[in-house]
Every structure is written in structure tokens, then in C-alpha cells.
């Protein structure tokens, strides 16, 4: 699944080819299309029929990316949903399992779609996403905002983890406290998290703006996005998925 390296960097005489070579893997635009198409397919009225295929795709992407935890976790999560959603109510019919079943029949679609989305987030750097969106002529405010959001996910995740650690050490993170004082517990988590995230975002945006992010000049890309063989294989798949979701007869409709 590798896009061909740009010719001027592929020559063996170049030093540091690993670092400067075009990123292996799909073009960001293909990844975005995949996420959109898979979401449409599994969320359509007869979406369940696409779930096995989308799951397979998500696992395949995870394997290509060598994200083993996701490659194993996704099928396991889907298996659990399938057992709870389809098998359990048959074995042990009662109102609780029925409600659980309805929930899981829907959640399994999310598992599949999130699996494909995780590949986009894990393998696309903010600058490459912005370059891809520019290639699509997406307006600047949108592309810059999305790139900044993508950059900001890990910051918020890191801050949240640190605040949770601090709460654990102060004895504020237990399930007991959450049940007794739900609002207070959430407040104690969110206030420091937002404060810390804001502070981190201030440095990030100051530096990015000074380095021209969102400037009026027309930006370029070190490696302009380019479709490769893998992209050409997957785009028809995308088209087929969307067509299937929209055109296949839905008995309930």
C-alpha cells in the first residue's frame, strides 16, 4: 500500500531518504472519502449488511499501518456487539437483553465507522490534511480549522490524562465519588482540563500564526498530495459502497 516516492527523492544517492520520502500509505483525500463513504454506508437504513465489509476494510487499514492493537481490538469489539445484539436475546429473552440488543445492533455500525476514522486520524499529519483539503479547493478557513483540530486532539488527550492522574492521587477519581456528586466530579475534571488546554493552545496558535498559518499568501506543500496505486484501487470501492447504500432496495423504506 505504498504510494510511489517522488522521482527526485527516490534516487539512491540521496542521503536520508527515509525522512524526506513521501509518506507511505494512502493519499489523505482517499482516507477522507473512505471515512465519508463508510459512514454513509453503515448508517443507511440497511446499513448492517455493509458492516462486515467496512470492518474488514478497517482491520486491513490497521494492519497496513501496523497498528496491531486496533487490528485486534476492532474485531473483538464487533464480536462482543454481535453476541450481545444477535445471540444473547435468543438465549436469554427478557426486557434488559432486548434493550441491550437494540443498542448493540446500532453500536456495531459505529465500531466499523470509527475503525476507518481512526486510520485517518492516526496516519494523517495536520499539515498533510491541510494540503489535501487545499488540493480540493476547500476554503482556507475550513482547511486551517480542521488541521488545527487534528493537531489539538493529542494535546487535549494528554491534558485529560494528566488531570485524571492528578485526581486519582487526590482520591477524587473513584466511581463512588462520581455516583454521589456527579456534577462536582465532572466540574473538578473539566475546569483544570480546559484551563490547561487553553494555555497549551495559546503557545501553539501564537507560533503557528507567526509561521504563516492562515496567511494571505497561497500556501504550498513540501510533498503535494498525489494519488497512488492503492488510492486508485480504493476509490472504486468507495463509489460502490455509496452506490450500494443509496440504491439497494431497503424493505423498510
Amino acid at each position: 500500500m505504498s504510494a510511489p516516492a517522488s522521482p527526485e527523492l527516490a534516487s539512491p544517492s540521496r542521503a536520508l531518504p527515509v525522512v524526506l520520502a513521501r509518506e507511505r500509505g494512502l493519499d489523505p483525500r482517499t482516507k477522507i472519502l473512505l471515512v465519508v463513504a463508510c459512514s454513509i454506508a453503515v448508517m443507511s437504513p440497511q446499513g448492517s449488511r455493509f458492516v462486515p465489509f467496512v470492518l474488514l476494510l478497517a482491520v486491513g487499514l490497521a494492519v497496513a499501518e501496523r497498528a496491531w492493537r486496533r487490528a485486534i481490538g476492532l474485531p473483538l469489539a464487533a464480536l462482543a456487539m454481535w453476541v450481545l445484539g444477535w445471540l444473547l436475546p435468543g438465549w436469554w429473552p427478557n426486557p434488559v437483553t432486548a434493550i441491550l440488543s437494540i443498542a448493540c445492533v446500532y453500536l456495531i455500525r459505529f465500531v466499523a465507522a470509527i475503525g476507518v476514522g481512526a486510520h485517518l486520524i492516526a496516519t494523517t499529519s495536520p499539515t498533510r490534511l491541510a494540503a489535501a483539503l487545499r488540493a480540493w479547493r476547500i476554503p482556507r478557513p475550513v482547511s486551517v480549522t480542521l488541521a488545527v483540530m487534528l493537531r489539538f486532539f493529542p494535546v487535549v488527550a494528554a491534558e485529560a490524562a494528566a488531570v485524571l492522574d492528578a485526581m486519582r492521587l487526590r482520591g477524587l477519581a473513584g466511581a463512588g465519588g462520581l455516583v454521589r456528586h456527579p456534577v462536582l466530579s465532572v466540574e473538578r475534571f473539566t475546569v483544570p482540563m480546559i484551563a490547561a488546554s487553553l494555555r497549551a493552545s495559546e503557545d501553539l496558535s501564537a507560533s503557528a500564526i507567526l509561521r504563516g498559518l492562515g496567511s494571505r499568501r497561497v500556501p504550498t506543500a513540501m510533498h503535494p498530495p498525489r494519488f497512488g496505486v492503492a488510492d486508485l484501487v480504493l476509490v472504486p470501492v468507495v463509489a460502490a459502497l455509496v452506490a450500494g447504500a443509496l440504491l439497494l432496495p431497503a424493505p423498510l423504506a
Binding site: E8, D203, M222
Partner: protein, 479 residues
């Protein structure tokens, strides 16, 4: 080149101006150091030069004129100023926009519309230069503080600005990383780049600085030229609240056994202590990040945890405090403690203390910590007048003291300080070291994770120096 004429600047909602009638000039190719105690206005003066003041603070009040490379900053767009100035903020880690060295170096050039071939050539040149000092394929967040600093400087100068602005570049660096910083600055200066540095550690700039300006209350109080600065004594620096030379500090080693220990001793020769770790092994991301066969930390004294990034300092702190699972045993006063018990027995004073202030007033924060000596500890830490204030409205130093107060009241037996002195001046350094000493004197086992040799010299009794338990593999850019 840079001209500041009688500038007075007041931050939004501030009672008093941060800069008062400040005037300064920097000639092309000069290296000028702005120094002064915390709150003297040196960082603000730097932000004046790249336009963050006034553009990044709506409703601030600016009087006077600033001209940078012929551009009047107040009337210019920030990116116009970014084209002629490169800025490195205090925490390089927080300002990276990309994940890899190459992408970070290309970032400014991409935004300014440099043709792709020129970006690639330029990035290749810079990457070649940096490859001598750091693993180029590594994710930026995993580099050491010194390596991140190198990348941040390269990323700020890749698009060829003639002016470089650095905010406390040495604040998180060890002595040898400071030497590399000096070499980098020297090379830039030889290329004719004008450099302005805001700092409170000064001596390392001795051979480079053309002028040193000491700021006090937002104006230049003292000016030294290169020769005068070299003649200034350490006592005079101390009077201005400035830090002198960065001296490597040698501490007696704590005997310890295991692959993570820099100078291990046989396990049988490790003496007992209040907090004992045995057979600790932690794997993260398929790599052994901490391997301690046996070590014991004594009560009532301060043990420095030192070592390069990736040596397992943070992991050790997390194992001791019960935030990280691992094989092996942790014993406190002879009793083996599980994860929960360790969490209840310990505390961390984090580098970003804002993350651990949970309530709406200083008094409530103290109540939450429990104990009955609340008012005594508040008075001792000079916080009693602030009891009704919101913790997030306090200054960084006050927040840190509040967290320390809560830790002391809760009577935790194991206390970890994580880089408590980043970016503080000489006076505050003394106060932080006093805090650490007090916690130890209260009868706690204190671990101090820090690169700051000035702080270690004041606050630590002995050191445990860690090395990576397994060589770091050059891994994929994203994990």
C-alpha cells in the same frame, strides 16, 4: 533593524503596565540579551518584537512605536512580521505543529508559499545538519528537551528570517544541552542573524552577547556591553535576581541495581530504606522503559531522579505513585502496597500545576486536602491573604505553593516533584527548594525529577541516575 521608542504596554485587564517607557535599539547582526527577574517584562519585550504584543492580546493598551526590519509592528499583520522574525517560545514542545522533524521544518515555508522544490532542498539541508545531534525519524514529542530546542530553532529560521527571538531557551536544558545551544547560536550569529534572547541564566551567553540589558519593572535598568558583562560578578547578578553560570552538579549516587541504573551495584549491596522497589519492570509500546532490580529511597531526604529523556524518569515516578502498572513490588515501611494504596500514600507536584487545582477558592482547595493545620501551612507559604481567590487566578509560583500546601496537609508519605523550577528566577528557585526541603522534613520520601542543575544543587541530597533500559529504536513517525 529593531527600534523600540518609549513603549508602554498594559495587558488586557491588568492593573499596571508591564512595560514602562521602554526604549531599545538592536543593530543588524547583534546578539542582545534581555534579562531580569520574573515579572520584569523581558518576555513581554520579546513579544513586542514579533508583534504578539499587541496583536495577540485584544484590548491591551500600547503607547509608543516599534519598528522591526522597517515594519511598524502595530500596523502590520502577524504573518508579515513572522516572515522577517523567527520566534522560539519558552516550551518548544507546545509549539510544534507537525509530528516529524522534516514536516516541522517545512511548516513555515509551506505557509509562506515557497515552491516545493525549494522547500525540499532547504529541509534536506537542515535535516542533514540536525542529524548529527538527534534521531531524525523520531516523533518530535519523544525527543529530549535539548533536541526539541534544536528543532524549534531550526524550524523558526528555516524560512530565512534575519531576526531570531528566543524566550528563555535554556530553561529546561541540562548543562551539556546548553553547550549545544551556544554552538547553534554562534553559527546563526556568524551567518549574520540578529538575535534577541530573553533569559535569566546568563553566563552561558558570555562569549556571544554583544549587549546585556537588565530590565526592572518594565524598563531598562542596567546596560552592559560585552566587556562589562564579562567583568560583572555573580553577586551583582544575584542582586538583580539573575542566575549565573550553569554548573554541572555532582551528587552522591543512591545505590541501586538494574538495567535502568547508570552505575548499578549488585542487588545484595543495596541497603534498605523507607520506600523499597524490587524487580520493577515496565514495558510501554513494546519496549522495556524501566528495569529496576532493587532500590530503596530514604525518608526525610530528597533524591534527585536524573537521566536523559526516555531513561524512565517519568515511568519511575508513575510506578511509585501507583499511576502505572508494572511487575515487581513496592514496599513502604515494610508493607507491600498495591496500586490503590500507593495512590493514597503519594502525591505528585506536576510541572503544570494548573492541572491539579480542582476547586473554586484557595480555602476550598485546602479543605479538600483535609488535615487541621490548614491556616498554619497557608501562613507559612505566604498564601493566607489569598484564601478567597480562585486558584486559577493566582500566579504560577502561588499555584505551585498552593499545591505544595495541599500535599503537606494531606500528609502524603511519598512526594514526587516533576520539573518544579522550569522558567523561574533566582529568588523563586530558593523558595521552591525551601518547599521541597519542608516536605522532606515533614517525614516524606521525596523524589525530585529535574534537569535544573541550579535547583538540584540547592534541594537534592543524592541522585539516582537512570539510562534507557533498552536502546531506543528509531520507530515509525506515529505510534
Amino acid at each position: 533593524m529593531i527600534r523600540v521608542e518609549k513603549v508602554t504596554w498594559t495587558y488586557p485587564h491588568a492593573a499596571a503596565p508591564s512595560l514602562r517607557d521602554l526604549s531599545l535599539r538592536v543593530r543588524p547582526g547583534e546578539l542582545v540579551v534581555l534579562c531580569g527577574a520574573s515579572g520584569s517584562g523581558k518576555s513581554t519585550a520579546l513579544r513586542l518584537l514579533n508583534g504578539l504584543v499587541p496583536h495577540f492580546h485584544d484590548d491591551g493598551v500600547l503607547v509608543g512605536a516599534v519598528t522591526v526590519d522597517g515594519i511598524v509592528t502595530a500596523g502590520a499583520e502577524l504573518d508579515e512580521l513572522g516572515l522577517v522574525t523567527g520566534s522560539v517560545l519558552q516550551h518548544p514542545r507546545r509549539q510544534f505543529f507537525a509530528d516529524t522533524v522534516a514536516e516541522e521544518l517545512a511548516f513555515a515555508m509551506e505557509n509562506f508559499g515557497v515552491p516545493p522544490e525549494r522547500i525540499r532542498a532547504r529541509v534536506e539541508e537542515e535535516v542533514g545538519r540536525l542529524a548529527a545531534h538527534l534521531p531524525i525519524g523520531q516523533s518530535l514529542q519523544r525527543l529530549s528537551g535539548g533536541q526539541q530546542q534544536q528543532v524549534a530553532i531550526a524550524a523558526a529560521t528555516a524560512h530565512g528570517p534575519r531576526i531570531l527571538l528566543l524566550d528563555e531557551p535554556s530553561s529546561n536544558l541540562s548543562a551539556d544541552a546548553v553547550d549545544r545551544l551556544v554552538a547553534t547560536l554562534r553559527a546563526l550569529k556568524e551567518r549574520g542573524v540578529t538575535i534577541v534572547v530573553a533569559e535569566h541564566r546568563l553566563r552561558y551567553l558570555g562569549g556571544l552577547a554583544d549587549r546585556v540589558l537588565v530590565l526592572r519593572d518594565g524598563a531598562v535598568a542596567v546596560e552592559w556591553d560585552a566587556a562589562a558583562f564579562r567583568a560583572v560578578r555573580d553577586e551583582e547578578l544575584a542582586r538583580e535576581g539573575l542566575r549565573g553560570a550553569v554548573r554541572p552538579v555532582e551528587l552522591p549516587a543512591l545505590p541501586a541495581a538494574g538495567a535502568s541504573v547508570a552505575r548499578p551495584v549488585p542487588a545484595a549491596e543495596v541497603p534498605g530504606g523507607a520506600l523499597e522497589l524490587e524487580g520493577i519492570r515496565c514495558r510501554l509500546g513494546g519496549r522495556v522503559v524501566l528495569d529496576l532490580e532493587r532500590v530503596a529511597f530514604p525518608v526525610g531526604s530528597v533524591t534527585a531522579i536524573r537521566g536523559v529523556n526516555g531513561a524512565g524518569k517519568t515511568t519511575l515516578a508513575r510506578v511509585v505513585t501507583g499511576l502505572q502498572r508494572g511487575t515487581g513490588r513496592v514496599r513502604l515501611d515494610g508493607r507491600t502496597l498495591g496500586l490503590r494504596a500507593r495512590q493514597r500514600a503519594s502525591a505528585i507536584v506536576m510541572q503544570d500545576v494548573q492541572r491539579q487545582l480542582f476547586t473554586e477558592s484557595v480555602a476550598a482547595e485546602i479543605d479538600l486536602a483535609g488535615g487541621d493545620r490548614g491556616s498554619d501551612v497557608l501562613a507559612e507559604l505566604d498564601l493566607d491573604a489569598l484564601a478567597e481567590r480562585h486558584p486559577l487566578a493566582l500566579s504560577g509560583g502561588q499555584q505551585q505553593r498552593l499545591v505544595v500546601a495541599a500535599v503537606r496537609l494531606a500528609g502524603r508519605r511519598v512526594v514526587v516533584f516533576d520539573e518544579p523550577s522550569s522558567g523561574v528566577d533566582r529568588r523563586h528557585l530558593r523558595s521552591i527548594s525551601d518547599q521541597i526541603r519542608h516536605v522532606a522534613a515533614d517525614g516524606a520520601v521525596v523524589l525530585l525529577v529535574s534537569h535544573d542543575e541550579d535547583l538540584l544543587a540547592l534541594a537534592a541530597d543524592r541522585e539516582l541516575r537512570l539510562v534507557p533500559a533498552e536502546p531506543v529504536r528509531p520507530d515509525r513517525s506515529r505510534g
